[in-house]
Amino acid sequence: MLMQLGLTRGLIYQAAGTVLGMVVTMVWRLLAGMPLWDQEVVFVVGGLVGGFAFMWGVGAIDDWLEWCRGKATPLVHGPPRDKPAWTRYFSTDYNHKVIGIQYSVTSLLMLMIGGSFALIFRAELAQADLQFLGMGMYNKLIGLHGWAVIAAILLGVGGMANYLVPLMIGAEDMAFPRLNAFAFWINVPGGLLLLASAFLGGFDAGWTAYPPLSTQGSVGYQFLFLAIYFVGLSSILGSLNLLVTILTMRPKGMDLFRIPIFCWAVLATSLIQLTATQAIGTAFLMGLSERALGMGFFDPEGGGNPILFQHIFWFYSHPAVYVFVLPGLGIISELLPVFSRKPLFGYRWIALSSLAIALVGFLVWGHHMFTSGYSPYLRVPFMVATLLVAVPTGVKFFSWVATMWGGRLRFPTPMLFTLGAISVFLLGGLTGPILATVASDLYLHDTYFVVGHFHATLFGGFVFPFCAAIYFWFPKITGRMYNEALGKLHFYIMTPAFWLMSIGQMTVGTMGMRRRIVDYDPTLGGGLVEARHLETTIAAFLIGLSILIMIYNLVTSAEIGVRAPANPWRSRSPEWQIPSPVPEHSFAAPLQVVGEPYDYGLEEEYVVMDESQAGHAQAH
């Protein structure tokens, strides 16, 4: 049975491919008269070959290989004929709903793995001095935590976008279903390489992997670089697919200012992913080749410059922050009108503010580098550009509260998480300008204040909205309701705990505690720093507990939850006008757009099915 799963085959192929790649490299080196063993080169080739072997094993390139041989392959829908239905989730499947769930579940898994790394070093930080975690282990865990949760966020973004976008615009599937499956599965060897790097000495320069530290460390860095290469490839291919889907597959009458607002967020996100991800690929490829081939990009001895890496790295990694949060902000905009029973306030402004954030986001990378030693003349332009991000972000906040104003608000779990998201993202957003302003950043840079700031941004922009989305669309996905009491318990543990954690991080930062240190001076902040750390650690564990409650809720409710009606939230969005769970072919007939997406309070519908053309979709 296990062998029938694409995943199992992929893993075996990856292991075999890695060994094969390593052996071939060594034989080739031997034939070329070089010493047999050079770990940098051997592991890089092994990791690369292993990654692509996985894709072959899992079956994600089967159809393309057939095409190369001149054979046409029909796009088969539905569960596999000769195997149980659940196996499709562990094999290559072209249905966007399956792929969306694959993304989301993998995301939750990575989120828990990455979160667990954080809990380990949070426990260490509960007290000053060294307790159980060595210095080296600490330095490796922080980077691993960072990349594991970033991968989780990218997967979560992919999950929401893949599941929701085609349903929201009434499309049969994504524009390129095979590419879609490929873009998901490439994350798996990527994630495995990331975790495997820990067994090759790990990477001890934090997630930013600044050289020269990263070009001197253990060979684990090479697996990190390769892992991000694979995950980045997924971002580029996935975003291309989403852009084409949104731009070309809308039904008649659904012009761009009539699509559900989440699609605008995905549009802006995809533009960033399609154009910025190459930069981190470049930065890491340069790091990889400096290590493996001795190219001196960042080595002053070889004519290189360490600051160059920071520029290229942040040219992706700042816009990437908007990749992490824009879809979440889209979820907020999507859910508020449903539970406020009121139209979304200023639809066009919210839609265009996403684009504005995406565009300005390309001009602000230098604010991570105010103390780096780059030309001082660059500081002010980057400061001004960064402060400008506050304007479109403000438009979103004001439009959200205006959406709630005068509504008839109700508060089931998804709404609670939406409100939690707004409050937490507000904390993250408002602590931005103080870091964007050069002089105050000269103090706060590389302190725990920054840690507090970006955790608030990412929890408010991703984790809370992701939870809201999971609870909100759970009935649509499974056909059953989640347990409301457990959902609320999750919210009422996680939200105060997060506020405590985030404020605690900011507090120890202003007291003067640096980030990325295993041990701190207990006399900071008049001796109060240790108490704040203990609170922060307790809060972090509470957040972990609340996530476990959610997982328990989701797993049990999928089995024994109350049967969900087609549209429990009385939403106007297309995906709620079809049965729950969504049938294999989502829409029995093409959609016709007859109204506006968020006209709550009006009788007329947003979309109706064109019954006269029923069956047309399947024929296609």
């Binding site: 210095m135 330095n139 001890d204 600044y210 020269p212 530290l213 360490p306 406020s340 029973r341 009121k342 139209p343 306030f345 200023g346 639809y347 402004w349 103390t371 030693g373 500081r379 002010v380 400061m383 400008l388 506050a390 304007v391 403000g394 438009v395 004001f398 959200w400 509260v401 205006a402 709630m404 104003w405 005068g406 509504g407 008839r408 608000l409 109700r410 409100l419 409050s423 507000l426 300008p433 302003t437 050069v438 002089a439 105050s440 000269l442 103090y443 706060l444 840079h445 590389d446 204040f449 404020i503 900011m506 202003t510 007291m511 003067g512 640096r514 041990d519 001076d521 902040g525 109060l528």
Partner: protein, 240 residues
């Protein structure tokens, strides 16, 4: 309901003002800066941070209060289950206002930021150069204007503008004395500069603020700020 908006706006407006003050007070408690302002740069930076805390409080109160007020005043009450909210879907004037006003506010904060930056980085007359070298995981200091010697603790005269000329031997490091507020990275192959004028006599700690490997957390050096006479005596001691 619409006719009552005037009353709702009034209540919410009052609450925004109250909560601005409350949040500002809470943040002042939650974000404590070190008591000692050890350099001429410290006060300017602390003031700037204080001004930003007001921005956080004001903007935070505005959003949180309107959100909280809506949660209370516009919640669906028992019996409202099927009722919809008031139907309005936008207001261009409002959208323009909350685009333009934040633009003005961030411009003001930008101008203030530029002024403070100019103030804390301005070259001074009578600067004394100290050469700082960072290496895994210790610091070295040299005083080229006073002779050929290197130390592992940094001793500087009070109220004398310093020009720190810094370089890294191996990997990135960052120079940071909490009481002096300002920080600057040290980069292999490049000389970076930091200007700071210590104004408080005392013993402080220099901490590396850029992750630099295994013992990064413990990459510390003692910093002593002393009177000019004590400094001269210390120099003589070093030259012996």
């Amino acid at each position: 309901m619409r006719s009552n908006y005037r009353r709702h706006f009034l209540y919410a407006g009052i609450l925004v003002v109250v909560f601005t003050l409350v949040i500002q007070w809470v943040l002042d408690l939650s974000l404590p800066l070190p008591d000692i302002q050890g350099s001429a740069q410290s006060a300017a930076i602390d003031n700037l941070i204080g001004q930003h805390v007001w921005l956080i409080a004001g903007a935070g109160a505005l959003v949180l209060v309107i959100m909280g007020y809506s949660i209370v005043a516009f919640r669906a009450r028992p019996g409202d289950e099927d009722e919809e909210g008031d139907y309005f879907h936008g207001h261009s004037g409002l959208e323009i206002a909350w685009t333009v006003i934040p633009l003005i506010v961030v411009t003001i904060y930008g101008v203030i930021g530029v002024q403070v930056l100019a103030q804390v980085t301005a070259p001074q007359d009578n600067e004394m150069t100290v050469e700082v070298e960072g290496l895994q995981w210790s610091w070295r200091f040299a005083y080229p204007e006073h002779g050929e010697f290197q130390t592992v603790e940094m001793v500087v005269p009070v109220n004398r503008p310093l020009l720190l000329s810094m370089s890294a031997v191996d990997v990135l490091h960052s120079f940071w004395v909490v009481e002096w507020r300002v920080k600057q990275d040290l980069v292999p192959g490049i000389t970076t500069e930091l200007r700071v004028t210590p104004t408080e006599v005392g013993e402080f700690q220099l901490r590396c603020a850029e992750l630099c490997g295994l013992r990064h957390a413990y990459m510390l050096a003692d910093v002593r700020v002393v009177s000019q006479e004590d400094f001269d005596a210390w120099i003589d001691e070093q030259l012996e």
